[in-house]
Each structure stands twice: as C-alpha cells, then as structure tokens.
Symmetry: C2
Subunit: 376 residues, 2 copies
C-alpha cells in the first residue's frame, strides 16, 4: 500500500481484476437479487414508459416518500423541495462540501470512510477528528468548528449514534451556531439507526444536512440515488452547488428505488439482513480457530472488520499477501484519516456478496494469516 492510495483506488483495482479474483472491498451491494427483486427489475421497461408520461416531480416525491418511510424517516421534508436526488451519496457529499464556506473548520467522525474526509479537504475545508469515543462521551467540539459530520451508522465500525447523543449534539450545535451533518448511507441496513433523526434535529431547532443512500441496500449495479436533505434553517448555497453538478437524477432509477423500498418493508429488509448475518457468521467461524475475531461483533452493517493482534503481521502485509492469493479486501489505515497508524491492526471485508464468495475469502484470509504469522 502506497501512502497515496485511497480506499476507492483499491476498490477500483479489485473491480478491474482481470484474473477472476474475489472482490470484498467496496460496500456496494453485490448480493444476488432475491426473487422479489428480480420481479421488480423485470418491470424496468415499464418504468421507462412511465417516466415519459408522468411529471418528474411526481415520480421523485413518490420515491422519496417510499424510501424514507421504509427506513423510519417519517419527518424528512418530503415534497418541500429540500430533498435533492443525486447520482450517488458521494456526489451529495461533494455538493455539501462545495456549499460550505471554504476555509471553515469542521469536525468529522474518526475513523470513517476516507472519501468523506477527502471530499471536504479537497474543497478547502479544515478538518478536525471527532473520535468515536468523544461522540459516545458527548464531548462535542466548540468554535472554531462550524459543522459536525457524523457517519450513522459508521463505516467501517457499524457504530450507531444513539438517539440521546444526537439530541445532545443538536442542542450543542444550536448553542454554538453549528450545522449538524449526517451521512446515513448505511442506515437502511440497521434498525437501531432508523429512529427518526429528522424529528430529533428539528425538535432541537438545529441547522442540519442529511445524506441518505440507496446504493448500499440493493444489488442494482450502481442504479442508485444519493439524497441530500437540508433543514429550513440552512442558508448554505446548496441548490446552486447542486445545479453545477447535475440537472436531475433518473426518473427510471427513482421508480426502481420506490419499488425496492416497498419490498424492503415487505420482508426485503429481513431477507437481506439474514444473508449478511450468515456471511458475518461465516467470517467469524473461519477466523476464530486461528485466534482472530471480529472487531465489531455488534455491527449490523454489510462490512466486517477483523482485528489483528499487535504481535502478528499487520494489515498492510496481510492485504498484499491476500492480493497474491487473488482476494481483495481493504486494509483499514486509510479509514483513520487523521492517524493512519491506528488502523494498521484491522482489515475490512464486505459482506454484501454471495455466500460462497465470502466463505472462500474468509478461508483464504485465515490461511494467509496463519502462514504469515509463522514467518514473521
């Protein structure tokens, strides 16, 4: 791993692997479609026709309503014009980064997916880490921090910001004139993260921005939507930044999202969760005999971190060795964007993959770790 590589670069490498390697890098859903999802995909040609006949705002509002209701966000401002549909949650994040005043100081959860920190840094913002421990201690940052960015649940740890903690942050932010920014891209997978964060933030009178994502939930080959919602109080030039990035998301994809959201409340959530948890159990079973364990046993998101003991090979070594065995995983140093060395003892595996892919990768990891341990 070179110092310059970011996590997405490693994910691109895995996707570009021409030798049939196993790709357990990115958090995108790559499970097989369920029978119910197959039936929905079969209706895409009809969605094309409907996209021509119905006005775009009607299609968009119906998708927002269905998706946000399916993940418990009943107070989201559907139909107000304050929810923008983007091609992806990454693009939504970049629009937020552009709308924030350049040079401002913002606190960002640590560790978290490096792309979130990178997008803010590239747009000229100063970042300070807010550790997960500080979040759990409600040790909120004061000025000059003008915005606090939480990933909820967090990636890669799966840590959920509890409702009381979010309320505490919202009240703190109101007192200090800060904006609360939530990246809830993995929320759809975790019931505990589905309390109505819009209600909590509005009740406190907070200035907030929330990013939601359909891309982590459904294996729709990048046909997805990132939502960018913001509060009535928000005065940032978000619409202007949006108009620089896109005209509109696809009305076909919006209809697909609506249909998949209806399936999600009709058993789809449980079906996907069962597949992910079976995969998590498979990883656990493969690594426990060699003395490794899941770093976040309570996590319910579709990735798993494995902790590596201090006296054995680190994740950089394990990552390279597994590449030679044709298995792509992510070393975790880049998630610790403010202190990469803190992540050296973790690797991350994606669980939103077919069972056999996860089983083979976990078995390979156990073999690689055992052999490396014998040589270092």
């Amino acid at each position: 791993m070179t110092e310059l590589a970011n996590l997405t670069t490693m994910e691109v490498d895995a996707l570009s692997d021409l030798e049939g390697g196993l790709n357990l890098t990115d958090g995108h859903a790559r499970l097989d479609l369920s029978a119910e999802q197959v039936a929905i995909v079969a209706r895409i040609p009809e969605m094309f026709t409907a996209a021509t006949r119905s006005p775009f705002p009607a299609i968009e509002t119906a998708a927002h309503r269905a998706f946000l209701d399916a993940i418990g966000q009943h107070s989201a401002p559907v139909g107000s014009g304050r929810i923008l549909s983007c091609y992806s949650s990454t693009l939504a994040t970049d629009i937020v980064a552009r709308a924030l005043p350049a040079g401002a100081t913002i606190a960002v959860l640590h560790p978290t997916f490096d792309n979130i920190a990178d997008l803010f840094t590239t747009r000229g913002l100063r970042l300070v880490p807010l550790t997960e421990e500080a979040m759990l201690d409600r040790a909120w940052p004061g000025p000059p921090v003008s915005a606090v960015v939480l990933t909820h649940p967090n990636n890669p740890t799966g840590l959920v910001t509890p409702e009381g903690h979010l309320r505490s942050l919202a009240e703190h932010a109101v007192r200090h004139g800060q904006t609360v920014i939530i990246d809830a891209s993995f929320r759809g997978q975790v019931r505990e993260a589905q309390y109505d964060t819009y209600a909590v933030l509005d009740a406190a009178g907070a200035d907030w921005i929330t990013i939601e994502d359909t891309g982590k939930l459904w294996p729709t080959h990048e046909l997805k939507i990132g939502l960018l919602a913001y509060s009535e109080r928000t005065r940032l030039p978000i619409e202007r930044a949006f108009s620089e990035s896109l005209l509109a998301a696809s009305p076909v994809v919006l209809q697909l999202v609506e249909a998949l959201a209806r399936d999600w409340v009709n058993g789809g959530y449980e079906r996907a969760r069962d597949l992910v948890e079976r995969n998590r159990d498979t990883v656990r079973a493969a690594i426990e005999p060699i003395g490794l364990c899941l770093a976040d046993p309570g996590s319910r998101i579709s990735v798993a971190r494995i902790g590596l003991p201090q006296d054995g090979p680190d994740s950089s070594l394990l990552y390279k060795d597994m590449l030679e065995r044709g298995v792509h995983v992510l070393p975790c140093a880049p998630f610790h964007w403010a202190a990469p060395e803190d992540g050296l003892r973790f690797v991350r595996l994606s669980l939103a993959r077919p069972y056999d892919t996860v089983r083979r990768a976990a078995t390979t990891l156990a073999e690689a770790y055992r052999e490396l341990s014998a040589t270092v």
Copy 2:
C-alpha cells in the same frame, strides 16, 4: 432573470413545473423512443443478469468500443485504461477541473454552456475567453494559458471545429506545453464533428483530454455515461480525482450504451437526425413570418438559437413572457459567460423533444414576440 441564475437552475425550474408547462430548456434527449430503442430497453432485465456474470472491465471495454466506433473515434484508447466511465459528462468535466493545477489559466471557448466555465472557476482556475471568431482565425492563446478548452460541436451555436483547425491548435499546444481539452458531448449528432480527433491530437504529439457523452443522443431518462479519455502524455492526477468522485459507472448502463451505439450505426443516427431536423424546420417556419430567423441555420445539434433584432424585446423579456405562457426556453446571456450582454439577443430552444411539443412552443414564441414587439 436574476444575475445569479445559471442555465441549469432554469432547467431545474422547467423540470419542476407542476402546471404542465412545455420544457424546451435542457439539451438532454427527450424524444420518444424509436421502435428499435424500445426493443433495446426491453432487454434491460437481461443486462442485469449479464452484469452479475461478466467481469466489469469486459462490459466497460465493449461499451467504449461500440460507442466510440459509432461516432467515428476509432483511435480512442479503448482498453488502455485511459478512458474512465463517469455518471455524466458534467462529472467528467469536474474531475478534469479538479486535476488541473489550482490557479492555472485556461482558455475556454466563448460562448459555450455556462456550466463548463462554472465548473472550472469553482475549482480555482482562471478563465480567459477564446471566441469562436478567434478559433476560426486560428488565433490561439499563448502563455500563461496552460490549457485550451473547446466544445466540439459548440453548444449553443453548433459550430464544429474543423479538422485543420484542431491540428493547428494541437501543434500550437505542443510548442507551448499546453493541454488540449475537448468537450465533445454533442458530437454524436453531427457527422462533420466525427472525424477522428484522437488521431489528429496524437499525430501532433499533443497532451489532450477528451470528454464524450451519451446523454445528448438517446432518450434514456438520465441512464447515460460521460467518458473521460486522456493521452499517454497526460501527467495530471486524473485517476486520483476520479476515485474521489466514484467507484464505477453502472454495468447495466454500459450495456445499454453498447446496444444503442449498435443501433446508431444501423439507422438510429438517421432516424434521430430526421426528427431533430423536422423540429428545426418547424421552428423556422413558425418564426420567419414575424421576421425572426435561426441564428445558426447550419447547426445540426439538437438545440436552436433564435436571433432577436436590436430594436425589439430582448431575450430576458421574452423568456419571462413565455414563462407566463407556460413555455420554458433559455435566454442566452449565461452562455456568454465572459460578456453576458452579448447573449441578450438570443434564445435557445431544445429540439430533442416530441414534434408537437416543439410546434406548440415555436408557435407560442412567435405570438409572444409579436405581442411584445407591439408594446415595447
């Protein structure tokens, strides 16, 4: 029109019109699907299955090959890793803007779609205009200009950069260490723009970046790809900027592009061109009786500019009046990003719309102009 509105903001307003107004603003294809295109769209569910079974690089390369061959770009570096698939040409442009060194001076064609200039400005670049007249005179800018951006064919004028002119620019750029950047988003519509620009640029030994787009060609409801290709000589951190923006385009959309590209060389081009030219004739027939004419009668792209005489109402007035009549068009001042007043005497209508939409809009425009002329 406020000073702050950009063209996309006006396009978003048109798309959000809940009162059933006619939208002739954006250049996205909104024609009805042809029978051949309907048959392709019907195969999208199969493309989902294929996306699971085939490796992504194979799907992507096949799409690049089919699309670039369909628009005459046989020398594009397909399979080299130097063509990146983005969600849109806008995102491709933003990736280029980010990869250029902040503070650099670049020359950008004038007039052109304001979003192109805006994206570069927002990323901290200094812009100087290169007028269409200067391009036609081969009056290329010297230092400190480090990159020259051409829109080929240009939007909104339809002006094609002739092959000899591109060769002259490429040779000039090599002498001065400049990068040639081409936004060829509308190229697919215009045979004259389909000479092999990759061959011309490579023959001169130029450092180049080219953006291609499928979004202007096919009415696929924003299921589209923007391609970002670059030369072997290019040393800008383009891959890094790409990895900050996305992991990968959709393999379903890439397969859709491949199929539509095959149809394009099999009569699809002529079918679409005939619809657009019929619409252009309809606009011409509606406005000539009141003394107006097409500003770019030779243009073959799917938008048309109408020139407004100096002694009558300007485009700002006409734009507002037409809004009240439920017809959205674009006033052209923002296209003249360095001298907005130069665009006051033009409005732009999109022609990639169903015939009846264009006919009603053109008739309304003629009425509005006649009545406004009588009162000013």
